[in-house]
């Protein structure tokens, strides 16, 4: 195999694939990136056995072939090469080393046989549909902060993607919860998604996907089966196993009848929460909301740090209520609200509260209070 490629193109591809590769690997081949040269293309491929990213870039294949080399080392080298340089990768086959030449630099890296590289067979993916990259970003951004990292409830360690019906409209929904809060966001159901099973996309896949989306503007083709999902966009393709589990019946924790309705200015509220939370302890991050007609008072106190109080104007007509929340959770939700106003629907200090954007009903957050 022998190919030449522009440094920028190589760096971009390696950047994408190397982040899948775990820093510490007990299986040597999993530290490697698979490189394949053919015609005017080079493809790069890395996997951790659960998640696989493949990317094709323009290159000049002088001799077709393939090999594998350490992903992080290769990435570090290419990162440090001068901008605008040309890179040549050459591998003589068999047990030989991979040679990288660029300008006056020359590197020889250990290669491992391409036959040992685990291919993640996609298998048949009977369901496929297209989402715009913006829709996919929305589904991820507004839910992923709520993904649980608790390993015992591994079925919560991802985003639950499934078809549903919302006020008579068919939607594609993303839901995540860590048992303290829940985020649910929906977009119109794309064509082809109607019969899809509910799937749980693991956190690592979500994060890698989100990185790739930063550089994408077009559509993303999604294909899935009961066990795997694939996202294809431009020259990159990400294939992942799904979490084998059943997402809980989340609808049961979304209250329908909360009648204490509070509306706040999103920016003012976030800033006030941020200030007052400086006092709440690192561990609990508890903050108290005292709501009465037309006004909201945020307060926090801790034996070590003192106390803080801040009053805000707010729209509220119901009977007064005092309710505590984790300030971090409040800020996480506010960060995902784009409009000016946020609406809290509360029942009491020990029951779930619903938070929504006033102007946009597509996202819904459920937040469990703290006892304060």
């Amino acid at each position: 195999m022998k190919l030449t490629i522009e440094r920028a193109a190589l760096l971009k591809a390696l950047n994408h694939v190397q982040s899948v590769v775990e820093k510490r690997n007990t299986i040597p081949i999993l530290s490697n990136v698979k490189i394949e040269a053919k015609g005017d293309r080079a493809s790069f491929n890395a996997t951790d056995m659960d998640l696989d990213i493949a990317e094709k870039v323009a290159a000049e294949a002088r001799r077709a072939g393939s090999t594998t080399a350490p992903a992080h080392t290769l990435y570090e080298i290419v990162r440090k090469l001068p901008e605008g340089s040309q890179v040549e990768l050459e591998h003589g086959g068999g047990d030989g080393q991979l040679t990288l030449r660029s300008g006056r630099s020359k590197f020889a890296l250990p290669a491992l046989p391409v036959e040992d590289f685990p291919a993640m067979s996609g298998g048949e993916m009977p369901h496929s549909f297209t989402l715009s990259s913006d829709e996919l970003k929305t589904l991820i951004d507004r839910t992923r902060f709520a993904i649980s990292s608790e390993e015992t409830r591994y079925y919560l360690n991802g985003i639950y993607l499934h078809g549903a019906e919302s006020s008579g409209v068919r939607v594609l929904r993303a839901v995540a919860t860590d048992g303290h809060r829940l985020a649910r966001v929906e977009v119109p159901l794309p064509q082809g998604a109607a019969g899809m099973p509910g799937v749980i996309v693991p956190r690592k896949t979500v994060n890698e996907l989100r990185k790739l989306l930063d550089e994408t503007e077009g559509d993303v083709a999604v294909a899935l089966s009961e066990t795997k999902i694939r996202f294809a966009f431009g020259d990159a393709e990400l294939t992942s196993k799904l979490i084998d589990g059943t997402f809980p019946d989340y609808e049961r924790v979304i209250p329908r009848d909360n009648d204490k309705i509070l509306e706040v200015d999103r920016v003012q509220f976030s800033q006030a929460v941020d200030r007052v939370s400086a006092i709440s302890t690192e561990r609990s991050r508890a903050i108290k909301m005292s709501v009465e007609k037309g006004a909201l008072t945020l307060s926090a106190s801790s034996p070590e740090q003192g106390s803080a109080v801040e009053e805000l104007e707010a729209t509220y007509e119901s009977t007064p209520i005092e309710i505590g929340f984790n300030s971090r959770y409040l800020l996480d939700i506010m960060a995902q609200i784009e409009g000016d106003a946020a609406r809290f629907a509360m029942a009491d200090a020990a029951s779930p509260t619903v938070v929504r954007e006033v102007a946009d009903g597509s996202a819904l957050y459920v937040l469990m209070p703290m006892r304060v």
Binding site: D244, V253, R283, P303, V366
Partner: protein, 371 residues
């Protein structure tokens, strides 16, 4: 002092607490030497009344020794439930003076009264009032030490015991410490005291003369602490509701045991006791430690830290048993076994995050089987 305001710390210490409670509740015991504990051959004294202390009886002393020192000693079996109730009563009084109350055990606590919520003229006046109220509401006496840090407050409470109080102001601290034996200093146990004495350091004044380098060389990190306290410096804050770091229980067998079945039964009982506390306090630890004291008083501990909290009586029992069995085969009898659980998840401080009622999710296998 570096610009920071001078703090006002009170150390409240109940006088001969357990023994005083027994004397309060049983008039027949008043004025007599009383030891709380069991007279049994291998029992120990948990607390001694002042009358008993006059004979040299001390807490943690074997009952046999205590009896020898004081043939008229009356043993009262401990009633920890009652002590806990009285302790709570005292705590409630203390908390009316400041939210910054740090209990050290059932019978002593630190208070930070810098904020002076009751607008009393001084910390001394606060201490006087607290002691009077403890006396009125529980019928028991307490002593108090008042100073500008915990170290000095605790030393001061010991100074006029029983039923007295003592103030150490910043300008009097050096003089106060100068004549005290180093063995009385916080962090100086019998072994360290002996080492200090060998270096010719027996009093606070001598300790204060030592350069920091020497103390650090001899005692490592503790050396720095000794250097500071010899100057009356202690920056430790009063931490209310100190989260408990471990929970343990141990038992001394009536005779040394070699029969695994009986040893294991004793261990299981201790594991149950620890689990009882965990369940009541909703605290789950990840580290189980088993302590074994052999007939020759040799002490060994074996511990194991699990990846997830020990969340059932069965798991705690099994882990403890595993640890015990790691010292088999026994070459000598066992005198004592204990179980301790530590490594608690960050405890809450009265606030608690409530959970969404998600019900159970399920793994794929179970779901498929059910579906």
């Amino acid at each position: 002092m570096s610009g920071a305001a001078i703090r006002k710390i009170i150390h409240v210490d109940m006088d001969a607490f357990y023994a005083s409670v027994e004397q309060r509740d049983d008039p027949g015991l008043r004025g007599r030497p009383v030891a709380v504990g069991h007279a049994a051959r291998r029992g120990v004294v948990a607390a001694a009344s002042y009358e008993a202390r006059a004979f040299g009886v001390r807490s943690a002393m074997p009952s046999v020794t205590a009896r020898r020192l004081c043939p008229d000693l009356v043993f009262a079996p401990p009633r920890f439930g009652v002590y806990r109730d009285v302790s709570r009563q005292v705590r409630a009084i203390l908390e009316q003076y400041t939210p910054l109350v740090e209990p050290l055990s059932l019978d002593e606590a630190y208070l930070d009264v810098t904020a002076n919520l009751r607008a009393l003229p001084s910390a001394s006046a606060t201490a006087t009032e607290i002691r009077a109220r403890i006396r009125a509401e529980t019928g028991l006496t307490a002593s108090a030490g008042i100073s500008y840090n915990k170290f000095l407050a605790k030393l001061a409470s010991d100074h006029r015991k029983p039923n007295g109080q003592f103030v150490v102001t910043p300008d009097r601290a050096r003089d106060f410490l100068a004549t005290l034996p180093v063995a009385k200093f916080h962090g100086v146990g019998p072994v360290t005291a002996a080492r200090l004495n060998r270096l010719g350091i027996t009093t606070g004044a001598e300790l204060a003369r030592q350069p920091l380098e020497l103390l650090e060389r001899e005692f490592g990190k503790m050396g720095r602490w000794f250097f500071a306290i010899a100057r009356g410096e202690d920056g430790r804050e009063v931490l209310p509701d100190r989260p408990r770091k471990s929970s343990g229980a141990e038992t001394t067998f009536a005779e040394d045991l070699t029969d695994p079945a009986r040893i294991e039964a004793g261990l299981a009982a201790m594991a149950d006791e620890v689990w009882g506390w965990c369940a009541r306090s909703e605290s789950l630890g990840r580290t189980a430690t088993v302590k074994i004291k052999y007939a020759d008083f040799r002490l060994v501990t074996r511990s194991r830290t699990l990846a997830t909290p020990i969340d059932s009586r069965a798991l705690l029992g099994a882990t403890a048993l595993d640890l015990l069995r790691s010292v088999y085969p026994l070459r000598t009898g066992i005198r004592l076994v204990g179980v301790t659980l530590s490594g608690f998840a960050s405890g809450d401080t009265g606030t608690a995050q409530l959970d969404l009622d998600l019900g159970g999710g399920a793994d794929g296998e179970a779901a498929r089987a059910a579906g």
